[in-house]
């Protein structure tokens, strides 16, 4: 939503952009959240928006760890899931005791659930960063996910625990039965959480988190304990993940052990990393894209998860800054007015790259549908998976696309170097 997480750029932007631009972004986001369901009012799109909203909170909370503090977690779904379970139990308790607590407060309960678990295990987990933290988070994740199947009275075993969101006290005449009301509830929490998490990056704690990520030793020398900083970051991340979990519980009216599992942890990692962890708005892009693809691809292909894996590997290898990183790389060029010199080389490179991508898709679908299934519909052309012509087309696209793309990307690199040199001369690029 805004493009300034790193201190130096943030400070520079504050001076140049001013308060109007800063608040304008958030105002725009709020208006968009309100208006979206009025434009796309079908049931399917409402469900999608709700899921995307939850994914945004979840991915942003993950980025407190990965992007801000440099902690790679493979078990972030634990806090999310526990938040969801606590929210479901809270909803059932509120409904059965007729407490005067309205539904919009419930996500906060989920947040407290995530926070409580982070409080409990965080101190041990955050002793060390890096690979060890990654391993512990994986271990804790597996531990909680497997335990949830044993503690049946709390987690409801395989089937999970259900609830009824309409059984709570209505608020302003809203029962939260229709999806549109749930959407606005989620949208409200998305905005509040996103503002809170953005504000967190601007506090001294947020800044010292960045410092711990970049150089923990120096942080110790200036009198902070990196362990405490990591612990605090872990708790904040747990809190917001819990809010996302609580919203999921409200949205689906169920919590089950899949919420806690490795798949969920993997998807939040994908969202945050594909979007880009170096900028605050990166995970938002990632969450929107990943959720949208997840919803859209399932109806098109049976191997949609493989495409995620490939996109993820591609991003890790060729653009570790994610989508946000790619976008922000162009900022100095736009300012220096040299972007125009790069665009032709992009257009040239786009054609073979696209051919290569189509080759990958055709190959995957050929393998996936070899033993039967619908013909592959690629750009409106039907391909039959068992036909040798399809294999030949796939091979030509794959190999030819790769070889030509390699040459054209060299051209992009040269054009980029020239543009960057000009930008550097004009003082827009360090």
């Amino acid at each position: 939503m805004t493009n300034a997480p790193t201190p130096s750029i943030a400070a520079a932007k504050q001076e140049s952009g001013g308060a109007l631009g800063f608040y304008g972004v958030w105002l725009l986001a709020a208006v968009a959240l309100v208006v979206l369901p009025l434009i796309f009012s079908s049931g399917g799109s409402l469900t999608s928006f709700s899921l995307i909203g939850i994914a945004i909170i979840f991915a942003l909370s993950y980025n407190i760890l990965l992007g801000q503090t440099g902690l790679l977690s493979f078990g972030h779904a634990v806090q999310y899931g526990l938040g969801g379970f606590l929210a479901v139990h809270a909803m059932n308790a509120v409904a059965s005791h007729n407490w005067p607590i309205p539904l919009p407060v419930i996500p906060l309960v989920g947040g407290i659930g995530g926070l409580a678990f982070a409080l409990l295990v965080g101190w041990v987990m955050t002793k060390r960063a890096g690979t060890v933290f990654a391993m512990i988070s994986l271990g804790i994740g597996e531990l909680v996910a497997s335990s949830s199947l044993i503690l049946r009275s709390v987690f409801g075993g395989e089937s999970g625990i259900t609830t009824d969101r309409t059984s709570l006290m209505p608020m302003f005449g809203w029962t939260f039965g229709p999806q549109i009301q749930v959407y606005y509830l989620i949208a409200f929490w998305v905005l509040v959480s996103a503002i809170a998490m953005y504000a967190l990056t601007r506090t001294p704690l947020g800044r010292i988190c960045n410092a711990v990520r970049d150089n923990p030793e120096r942080v110790e020398f200036i009198g902070y304990d990196p362990h405490v900083v990591r612990y605090l970051a872990y708790m904040f991340a747990g809190f917001f993940a819990g809010i996302a979990g609580g919203l999921t519980a409200i949205n689906f009216e169920i919590a089950n052990s899949a919420y806690l599992g490795a798949t969920q942890s993997g998807f939040v990692l994908f969202s945050a990393f594909i979007g880009g962890t170096a900028y605050f708005f990166g995970p938002i892009i990632g969450a929107i894209l990943v959720t949208y693809l997840q919803l859209g691809l399932t109806s098109v292909t049976s191997v949609w998860q493989l495409y995620f894996g490939i996109i993820f590997i591609g991003i890790v290898m060729f653009a570790p800054g994610g989508i946000a990183g790619i976008l922000m790389k162009h900022r100095p060029l736009i300012r220096a007015g040299t972007l125009g010199t790069v665009i032709p080389s992009y257009l040239v490179a786009a054609i073979p790259t696209l051919a290569f991508a189509l080759g990958i898709i055709l190959t995957i679908e050929t393998v996936a549908r070899f033993s039967g299934g619908d013909p592959i519909n690629l750009l409106g052309i039907p391909f039959v998976a068992s036909a040798p012509t399809t294999w030949a087309a796939a091979a030509v696209l794959l190999v030819g696309g790769f070889l030509v793309a390699r040459i054209t990307w060299r051209g992009v690199a040269e054009a980029w170097d020239r543009a960057a040199t000009v930008a550097r001369d004009r003082g827009y690029l360090a």
Binding site: G70, L72, F74, V124, K127, R128, A129, G130, T131, V132, A134, M135, I136, L138, G139, I140, E142, L143, S146, S147, I150, L151, R152, S153, V154, A262, G266, L269, F273, V303, Q305, L306, F308, G309, I310, F312, I313, V316, M317, P320, I364, V367, A368
Partner: protein
Amino acid sequence: MAELIVISTLNGVLFGMLLFLLSSGLTVIFSMMGVLNFAHASFYMLGAFFGYQLTRWIGFWPALVIAPLLVGAVGMAVERYGLRNTHKHGHVAELLLTFGLAFAIEEIVSMIWGKSPVDYRVPAVLDFPAFTVFSTNYPAYKIFMLVVSVVIFIALLVTLKRTRVGLIVQAALTHPSMVGHLGHNVGRVFMLVFGVGSALAGLAGVIAGPSLVTQSDMAALLGPILFVVIVFGGLGSLPGAFIASLLIGLIQTFAVALNGSLASVFGPLDPSLGASPLTDIWNVTIAQIAPILPYLLLVLVLIFRPMGLLGTRES
């Protein structure tokens, strides 16, 4: 009871040796390159599926040799074209690359061979009971698995400790840049070690496939346990990995075999609390908590001895 102990010990040692086939490669790769290879268990799975496919085409014995070599080749390609290019982006990127690979390999395997278990059978030559302990027939194939893993273990030990290649590998573990200065191609050593580690994982897959279930989720099931083993043994320590493999193999096997619960031991003292978490814990059997035991161990080790059993460094 004596029967249970003998059989479970045999099975536990067997599972432990299988774990060591995997964890040895993983821990050597980690100490050399600083990369925890998430895809290591995926290579094990690839080994099992290649073994299955090759067994159907050309028989078990050629598959036993060719499948690990294929997996080793895949591993070397991953190192050469994946990890080496990602190295400049740092360890997190490398870890994430292997994570993405593990994800993609699982999807590819389930795309080609389906999500249900494949019919990967014990070869007919080895399909007979080796001996009978008390009343249980112990299958010859399990003895074969044990022999193969012990032979590999000894071969690995001799190669590392007694040959020139092993010497260079050992030196590259601790002082990669010095080895480079002495004129060895460290990049090639890395690629070789990664390939051999993957091939060992593949071999473990080929021999474990018929005995365990060959299915597309076998990597996801074994992978986390593998990490427990190498963290428990001490990151980068081969003897530690060996002890931890056997220990976790034995613990897992014994836990699965035991059926006791708090309720069965202290039956008359049943507090009858109704449906509550306490009742769940009261009634859960040891066999049911077997899957979470490794992770409990991991958490305990990280709290009380963060460097692991025989590890020397903290991270």
